[in-house]
Symmetry: C2
Subunit: 436 residues, 2 copies
């Protein structure tokens, strides 16, 4: 009976440990979402600066650089805390291997920013190249958020992370649309890119919508309501009018360079409105972690009164943490020999109570695990599609958006789900030689 | 660059920590598989003892009890080690909350054995009741093995655990078939159970085959080969002949009580042959853990030579463990301000090396995560079918095998997969009131 109780308490300790570690990664995600937003603004200002050949937006760009640097410093300071990756407990972070690898890759990407800024300041690159470089840094940060969602083991928090990741990804595609459109207007047409530029734009629009759909599916009602209100304020009529001109340009029509600025302003306004929801979601992520930890400390299966009864304590509201918070505490795990076989040294009433708590805890954990599997299925689908895209890019030499379009077109032609086509591509890929 | 390296090393430490914890749960699974096998033998001997009204198998039963008790003591001694659930590191066991809860439930089930044995010795219950009680204990132990498979995060080990779980489950169904058939022969017919007994038998046979198919799909080639050889030695002609008689009895034919003993002997021979493969698989599980840990210590992405280069050490074969084995070791994580923006204090060659290691590690972890998702899909399907069965049992008042048959029949009638029907049942269940 003693050892049964020891494992019951150890299970609860594991649950608390995992939630505390999850709360940590959510703090990081919060800081990263701010950094991504500022990087997007810096990318925009850098593009305008480069497009105007340095004539305007210099001061705006400088302000953006400073703002990004502050957000980056916040992320780095958070990461530099010893308890993040240097303590023994941090080495036991669930999914830590994957998460920390993503952090290192993101730090590597961030390390390239000072060089990029020098290049931009000296105008030694064009807007397209600058966009590409900024987008790579942002992609590394988004991959970190995705990983955090994928390793999270608490369904409520996991849902929020999936919602946040999809909103961030959709917003990033909107940011890329802004950059690509601004370049096209500034150049007076899609130029040599022609239909290719039109396809890129269509892909960015379509992929955004897919992200927002997934975001809406996973987002809590209160954030969903504020998102609906935010959408109404977005300048969609103006955006669609300008999008139409860009698409017509892909078919040969000329573009008025004067429209570059209204396009940029209208896209930016939309991004800022998205950021409101994104920030609300990042806040609710923190709140959800705090709430889950509080719920666990509030003792869902009534472990505390059981432990009090065992200790012969009065039923005073001692915090559960005091009883189960530290390893190797009050509950001993005597070797099996100590237990008279079949006897119930605690009496049948307490034995019954332990079994009740145990069964409640087991059902609760099982329900959580089932719910989590459902949330993760979405992430698994995304992983499959991303990997299938990678295969097509490698084997067929396609660009990312071309690869995505090929998958989607095949799915439509064959009346199959995108994820099934992706799976077929991956199965086929194992039979094909890899391009060097 | 410093902090990037710190996270790279922390990721490796997490990987090692997780593998070591996984090796622990595999040790437990190894001990549990032995205990389950002995419980099955004790259940068989207890049945024969009860069926002969205590006239025979008394000595055999006593020997089985002793043998089971030794295996149980081994499991309990293993669990009583302080590092299993009482250290801070154990509290950080991946999936620990679920695994430890299952351990506690299994300990509770084992706690009922002494009472059950007293009841059997005094012949205060019949074979059916004894079978049911033993089967419950075995089910709690199998649930522990299933959980270990479900929380394992290393695909090679996870595949072996899935294979072992299915083999154990199939063998347990074969053990239940032995008990149910022995009771029917001893009683001279299925009696009042009639067609119900026949259905139970058909269900046990069919469910066994499904388990062995999944086992074969996940089992490594070497174990698969020894399984094929083992199957040849199984007395299948005799078993099928006796099964035929049992099924005919369900349709009203009488059974010769004298066949109880050949039936039991033939089923037992089959179980013992299965146990050979099961033991081989449990051994290969231990070997696989050791091999994965060795592979990780052998430094797949060449982190060690990188760390040596950074430390200015000669390229002597210092063990990676010495460099990354303990938290807060050689690699410091200086705050961001220490790094001159954009400079590469380590020189471009070393920076490049860090990025190479990082990317290799990232690809490796991603491939592992993808492979794992594929293995887990099988487990998720099983969970869905189990939950759907539970819903049908609650809502329709069906027995377990009836619920399974209803699911299977519906799938066949509608030409859908079993798992899709299970999903439909679960979706429907949310709309229905729950029986008290």
């Amino acid at each position: 009976m003693d050892s049964m109780l020891a494992f019951l308490v150890a299970a609860r300790r594991c649950e608390i440990h995992d939630l505390e570690q999850l709360a940590r990664s959510c703090e990081l995600v919060h800081a990263v979402s701010e950094l991504v937003h500022r990087l997007q603004a810096e990318r925009g200002a850098s593009n305008l600066y480069l497009a105007s050949a340095g004539a305007s937006f210099g001061a705006d760009r400088a302000a953006r650089v400073e703002s990004t640097a502050a957000a980056e410093a916040a992320v780095r300071a958070w990461l530099a805390q010893p308890e993040v990756c240097q303590t023994a407990s941090a080495q036991a972070m669930p999914g830590g291997a994957r998460l920390f690898t993503r952090v290192a890759l993101a730090l590597h990407a961030l390390g390239g920013l000072p060089g990029l800024r020098e290049t931009i300041a000296a105008r030694r690159c064009g807007p397209a190249e600058a966009t590409l470089q900024f987008s790579r840094v942002i992609a590394a940060l988004l991959a970190l958020v995705f990983e955090a969602a994928d390793v999270a083991a608490e369904p409520a928090v996991s849902r929020l992370l999936v919602a946040l990741f999809n909103l961030m990804q959709g917003k990033e595609l909107a940011g890329q649309e802004r950059a690509s459109g601004a370049a096209a207007f500034a150049a007076g047409g899609t130029g040599s890119a022609g239909a290719r530029g039109e396809q890129t734009l269509l892909h960015l629009i379509e992929a955004q919508e897919a992200c927002f759909e997934r975001f809406e599916a996973f987002c809590p009602p209160v954030v969903r309501a504020s998102w609906e209100q935010a959408r109404v304020r977005m300048p969609m009529a103006e955006l669609e009018r300008l999008r139409r001109k860009l698409i017509a340009a892909g078919q040969g029509a000329a573009l008025e360079p004067a429209l570059a600025e209204p396009w940029f302003a209208c896209c930016s306004q939309r991004l800022e409105i998205m950021r409101e929801t994104e920030a609300a979601l990042a806040d609710s992520l923190r709140a959800a972690c705090a709430q889950r930890i509080a719920a666990l400390r509030a003792d869902p299966d009534d472990l505390q009164s059981l432990l009090q009864a065992l200790a012969g304590l009065p039923e005073s509201p001692a915090p559960l943490g005091a009883l189960v918070g530290e390893a190797g505490g009050a509950v001993s795990n005597r070797p099996a020999g100590d237990e008279a076989a079949g006897s119930e040294p605690l009496g049948p009433r307490l034995t019954r109570s332990i079994v009740d708590v145990l069964q409640a805890q087991s059902l609760r954990l099982q329900a959580m695990s089932d719910e989590l599997a459902a949330v993760r299925a979405t992430l698994d689908e995304r992983k499959l599609v991303e990997r299938a895209k990678g295969v097509l890019m490698r084997h067929q030499g396609l660009a990312e958006d071309e690869a995505y379009r090929l998958l989607r077109q095949t799915a439509m032609n064959q009346g199959r789900r995108l994820v099934d086509v992706a799976q077929a591509v991956l199965a086929m890929a194992e039979l094909l030689p890899r391009r060097a």
